[in-house]
Structures are given as structure tokens and as C-alpha cells.
């Protein structure tokens, strides 16, 4: 098992004929992802990596019904493409682009809610159920099956940590990138709930960062609902207050979202917080 996606998940790629879309379609296919179609307005009838391309999501859904879609669409057009996917019946939408306007993201989330759909991102590397299906842009080789569920706000840092796990032969069930924007579809809590219910996930790694209140909310939820061991790593210990560190979330304002506050909240919830990424491996091994 795994969460959100598996071997059977049928996937569309929106923006498949672009540079990123075509490259990552190849990577995903190589990983084993069940890509059944691509969408690029005006490019219907072509094929990319052997995948048929359609003009609209509705057309793709008629010809090649899918449950999930991943977007490689420039930020200004992402809202339209996302709403189209949701309107056409996509139930899991992965938004890769960064710089999607905040109000567009709110529009997408509001519409997804009315449609009962799950949105991953925006500004995410996607998600992968190791050994089964990858809907995202992460490097294939680090994601091998195993007992650890990983959920992260940032991308490369997550690869770093999964890389350590992989190097020590500890694989993952599912790895979910929440995305670095202020408004994203999935929060830690949503994913933790899924991991708790997934029998194959034996321990959970939470990769957070300063700014916002997602880690504090997660801590509260963990204390209340999560029985499985949770290990955390948080980035931003050294960040000076008031400076925006890349992600919209990674800014410390008004005394909220500080490193110390987050560590305190997580520790109180029984979560071990690693001081360095590499320590995660040892902490996980102690738990499983």
C-alpha cells in the first residue's frame, strides 16, 4: 500500500509538450507512473514519449479517463489549467509551477473543495509512492520502497533527507511535497492522517521550516491523533527575523513561526527533532 497514489493511478500531464513537461513525462514513465495522456491546447493528435496528446482535459478524459493530473504550465496560465482539470473530474491535482499568484491559488483550492479533489502544491516537487508511481519532478533513484512516510514543505531538502535514508537502505512508502507557497492544497495534518491509516507506513518523517504555523498545527494534531513515531527536521534555525528566505512561508514575523517555537511544539508532542539532516537516519532506525 501507499497513500494518495499507487501503481493503478491513471495520470494526465498538462503541458506535456513543453520542455519540462516532456522531460519529466519521460522520467515518470521510467519510474513506472501510469501516464495515460497529455494535454496541450493546439497540440492535440501529437504524441510525447509514446503518450497521446489532447487539446483539452475534457477530451483527454473522454479518451483516456484519469484520476490524477500534473501541471507543467507557466504560472499565469496555471489557474485556468487547474480549474479545467478539476471541472473535468480530476481528483488529485499536482501543481508543479512556482509563482502562481496567491489569489489564483485560493481560487483553485476553493474550487477543488467543491469538487472533493485533493491538490498537491503549488510550488511542489509532487509526490511519489515508492516503487509504484511518481507524480512529480524528484530524481527517481532516491525513492525506493520501504517503511517510512515522508512529508515535506521544501523540495531539495526533502531529497537530501530521503537520500540519507536511501543510502542506509531505508526506503519510503510515500513521499509528499506540500509545496512552498503560502496557500497550498495539502497540509501536514492531511498527510499525517493518511500515513497513520496506511498499514505499511511504520514511521513518519516531517520536514518543516520556519514561518507560518503549519508545524505547530501538526504538533497539536500529532499529540492528539498520531500513534506512529514521528521524526522531524526543521530548516531555518540560523535565519534572522524579518527576512524572507525564498519561500513565501519562510519568513519570521510578529514573533510567530520561529524555529524555537516549532521545536518546542513538536518536542512536546513527542516528536524527535533532528539537529542535522543526517541524524534522521539514526532516529528512524531507533523507531522501526
Amino acid at each position: 500500500m501507499a497513500i494518495y497514489i499507487n501503481k493503478q493511478t491513471r495520470v494526465l500531464v498538462q503541458g506535456i509538450t513543453g520542455k519540462q513537461g516532456s522531460f519529466h513525462s519521460g522520467q515518470m514513465l521510467e519510474y513506472g507512473t501510469g501516464i495515460v495522456g497529455g494535454v496541450s491546447p493546439g497540440k492535440g493528435g501529437q504524441s510525447v514519449e509514446g503518450v497521446p496528446v489532447f487539446d483539452t482535459v475534457f477530451e483527454a478524459m473522454e479518451q483516456q479517463p484519469a484520476e490524477a493530473s500534473i501541471l507543467f504550465i507557466p504560472a499565469p496560465f496555471a489557474r485556468d489549467a487547474a480549474l479545467e482539470a478539476l471541472d473535468a473530474g480530476i481528483k488529485l491535482l499536482v501543481l508543479i509551477p512556482e509563482h502562481i499568484p496567491l489569489h489564483d491559488a485560493m481560487d483553485i483550492m476553493a474550487y477543488a473543495k467543491t469538487k472533493g479533489a485533493v491538490v498537491v502544491g503549488p510550488n511542489t516537487f509532487g509526490l511519489v509512492s515508492s516503487g509504484q508511481s511518481k507524480i512529480g519532478i524528484m530524481p527517481n533513484k532516491y525513492f525506493i520502497p520501504g517503511p517510512v512516510g515522508v512529508v515535506s514543505r521544501s523540495g531539495t531538502l526533502c531529497y537530501e533527507i530521503v537520500g540519507h535514508l536511501t543510502a542506509s537502505q531505508t526506503g519510503t512508502t510515500t513521499v509528499v511535497g506540500l509545496g512552498g507557497d503560502r496557500v497550498v492544497g495539502l497540509h501536514f495534518i492531511d498527510v499525517l492522517k493518511q500515513f497513520e491509516a496506511d498499514p505499511e507506513t511504520k514511521a513518519i518523517v516531517l520536514v518543516g521550516e520556519i514561518g507560518g504555523s503549519a508545524e505547530e498545527e501538526a504538533a497539536e494534531f500529532i499529540a492528539r491523533e498520531i500513534k506512529k513515531p514521528v521524526i522531524a527536521y526543521l530548516a531555518g534555525k540560523s535565519a534572522p527575523p524579518g527576512k524572507r528566505m525564498g519561500h513565501a512561508g519562510a519568513i519570521i514575523e510578529r514573533g510567530k513561526g520561529t524555529f524555537d517555537g516549532k521545536v518546542k511544539a513538536l518536542t512536546a508532542a513527542g516528536v524527535k527533532v533532528a539537529a542535522l539532516p543526517a541524524e534522521i537516519v539514526q532516529l528512524i532506525k531507533e523507531k522501526i
Partner: protein, 369 residues
């Protein structure tokens, strides 16, 4: 992008939100002229900093002469290191009560949220939690009359003031949505004999949506280097240390800084050059860093979208053209790792496989130099 108060108020006016009569001026003389038609006035420095009042950046005058004097004084000030270039000269309102009203984005709820309080005028962080009404807006229907009535009920506002809110709040919401605002804050929102008036305006526009608002002026409050980084679409923040850091991804860049500090080093900056950069952008990022004259250069690449060979090639190119010889600590793994390592090693540069090793070497080098 934060807007100056006067720009925020111009937008308010466009949306039919009442603001005090007033004028933007750049000299004491203009201030005096502006004050002539307004009676008692307030003179407000136009800088992007809170607490202007406490810092002396807001003053009052009862006649043009006083206005001249006060304006002249404020125009020579620096407020939190910001030069005062413009002033807003406004009629002094007859304020019966100071309220607080804002619209912002609630990341947890993924919705716009109204913040409202009867305790306006003061620093809003000092308002007790229970005195601040927070009410999320369902974007699929927007702000309706019933929303306003409910907020008013929670505030304990009724009668004429509720009627005013029924006209006022939907306008602010419309502005917030139309302009891709991250924040549209009025503090204080003044209750006057003439009704509600926005005595201040703090509007922040989502940087990612600026392309949709080409008529808004570009406002910068950054250093030259940060501006250069912005041009290059790099996330760059200057810090005080001596180890220049470059990594791909905000989280891992932060983690690199943390690790540098963990091992006793001092980061000179935060530079996330993002994912999927080509040779040119990578070169530009490197050049920008070298321009800050660091003691050591620490590069931490975990290639995903980013290809290791591209980064390696760019690095060698910049080194060969600039001929710098500061110590470099280079970590390189991920997509096209083998090709990248080959390029660097051929150029005589040692490559680390773990972040830990690279960071420790960088900290040692900084200490040694």
C-alpha cells in the same frame, strides 16, 4: 510589494472607500500650500515602515507656517534607515473612535480572512486575541451582506455604524481581490461625524501577480545586490558572515546556513538559485556572490530539476573568466552527478558527496583564511 500609504489611499478612493482629503508633497513649500486649504492637518512621512508615529515621522499643524516647519523637519529625517522623500498632508479628522479592519490571506484555511477590532489605532499585535474578530470568506460567493452583519454582531456594532460597514467592507474586499492583495489593512479606521474614514492604508500586493497590474508603480526597498538578485529571479538575502552560500531550493539553502552555523561558521548570505537553472543563470548567481567578496564559497547542489553538469560547467566558466582563487567547498550530487563531477575534477576542483563534509570544510577554510 508594499504600497506607500498615499498609493493605498489612491486605490481606496478609486473603490469608493472614504479617505481624508489631502495631498502628496515633496517639499516644505508644497506642504504649506497643501495645508492652506485643509485647516488643521496631519503630516505623514511616506516610508514603508510601521510605527512612523513613535519614530517622529508623523506630525500636526494648524496653519501653513506650521506645516512648512514640520514638513521641513520630517523631510530631513531617516526613519528606520529609510529616507523620507514624500509626505502626505491631510485634513485632521474629527475622530470619535478608532477601529481596525484588514483583509489578508489565511494560509491554513486557504481563504481570505477579515480581521476586525474595535481597538484600532494601536499596534495591532497588542490587541488581545479575544478582541480581534477573524472571519474567513468563502471565495466562491465572496463577501455578502450577511458576512458583514455577522462580523458587526461579533464586534458589537449595530445601527448606523453597521450600515456604514455594509457599504464599506464589500469595497475593501473587492479591492483586495481585484488587486491581488496579500494585505489590505486600515488602522485606524476612523469613526467620524461624516462616517467611516480610512485614516491609514497599508496595502501589500502579491509579487507573483504584479504582472497583472502594470499600472502600479514599482516600489523597491532593497539593497543594490538584492535588486540585482531580483532581476535574475534569485532568492537572495544579505547576511553578516563571510561564507558565501549558494544552493538550489529554499529549504536546503536554509538547512545549509543552519549547518554552517552549527559547525561554528558565519553565512554571508542566503542564495537560492532555484531549480532548473541553465548555465547562464548559474553563472550570474555565482558572479553576484563573488561581488560580495566572501572569504569562502560554499556550493551545495542536490540535483533534481537542476542538472549537476550544468552547474559544474557554469562554475568552471566563471572561474576561468574571472580568475578568482578563494577557497571553494563544492558539494554535488543528483541528476547528471557523474558528468558534473568529471567536469569539476578535470578543472582541479575537489567535490564532496555529502553536505556535512562540504560545510565542515567551508567552515575550516573560513577560520584558516
Amino acid at each position: 510589494m508594499k504600497l506607500y500609504e498615499y498609493l493605498g489611499k489612491e486605490l481606496f478612493k478609486e473603490y469608493g472607500i472614504p479617505v481624508p482629503r489631502g495631498q502628496v508633497v515633496v517639499s516644505a513649500k508644497e506642504a504649506a500650500e497643501a495645508a492652506a486649504g485643509l485647516g488643521d492637518v496631519v503630516i505623514k512621512s511616506q516610508v514603508l515602515s510601521g510605527k512612523r508615529g513613535k519614530a517622529g515621522g508623523i506630525s500636526f499643524a494648524s496653519n501653513p507656517e506650521q506645516a512648512h516647519e514640520e514638513a521641513g523637519r520630517i523631510l530631513q529625517m531617516k526613519l528606520n534607515d529609510l529616507v523620507v522623500e514624500k509626505l502626505l498632508v491631510e485634513e485632521k479628522l474629527q475622530i470619535e473612535q478608532e477601529l481596525y479592519l484588514a483583509l489578508t490571506v489565511d494560509g491554513s484555511a486557504k481563504r481570505p480572512i477579515v480581521l476586525a477590532s474595535l481597538d484600532g489605532g494601536m499596534d495591532i499585535e497588542e490587541v488581545p486575541e479575544e478582541r480581534m474578530i477573524k472571519w474567513p470568506i468563502d471565495i466562491s460567493i465572496g463577501m455578502q451582506d450577511y458576512t458583514v452583519r455577522e462580523i458587526c454582531r461579533r464586534l458589537g456594532v449595530s445601527g448606523q455604524l453597521q450600515k456604514e460597514f455594509l457599504s464599506f467592507m464589500p469595497k475593501l474586499y473587492q479591492l483586495f481581490r481585484d488587486l491581488d492583495a496579500e494585505l489590505a489593512e486600515i488602522n485606524p479606521l476612523a469613526v467620524t461625524p461624516q462616517g467611516l474614514v480610512a485614516a491609514d492604508a497599508k496595502v501589500t500586493i502579491d509579487d507573483d501577480a504584479l504582472y497583472r497590474h502594470p499600472t502600479l508603480p514599482k516600489i523597491k526597498e532593497k539593497t543594490a545586490l538584492e535588486l540585482r538578485a531580483e532581476e535574475l529571479d534569485l532568492a537572495y538575502v544579505e547576511l553578516d558572515g563571510n561564507i558565501a552560500i549558494m544552493a538550489n531550493g529554499a529549504g536546503i539553502t536554509m538547512a545549509t546556513l543552519d549547518m554552517v552555523q552549527h559547525y561554528g561558521g558565519q553565512p554571508a548570505n542566503f542564495l537560492d538559485f532555484g531549480g532548473g537553472a541553465d548555465v547562464e543563470r548559474t553563472s550570474q548567481a555565482l558572479e553576484l556572490l563573488l561581488g560580495t567578496n566572501p572569504k569562502v564559497l560554499l556550493i551545495n547542489i542536490f540535483g533534481g530539476i537542476t542538472r549537476c553538469d550544468v552547474v559544474a560547467e557554469a562554475f568552471v566558466k566563471v572561474r576561468d573568466s574571472k580568475g578568482f582563487d578563494l577557497p571553494v567547498s563544492f558539494r554535488l550530487v543528483g541528476t547528471n552527478e557523474t558528468e558534473g563531477k568529471a567536469i569539476l575534477e578535470k578543472a582541479g576542483i575537489r567535490v564532496f558527496s555529502t553536505m556535512d563534509d562540504a560545510v565542515r570544510r567551508a567552515v575550516e577554510s573560513a577560520r584558516a583564511s
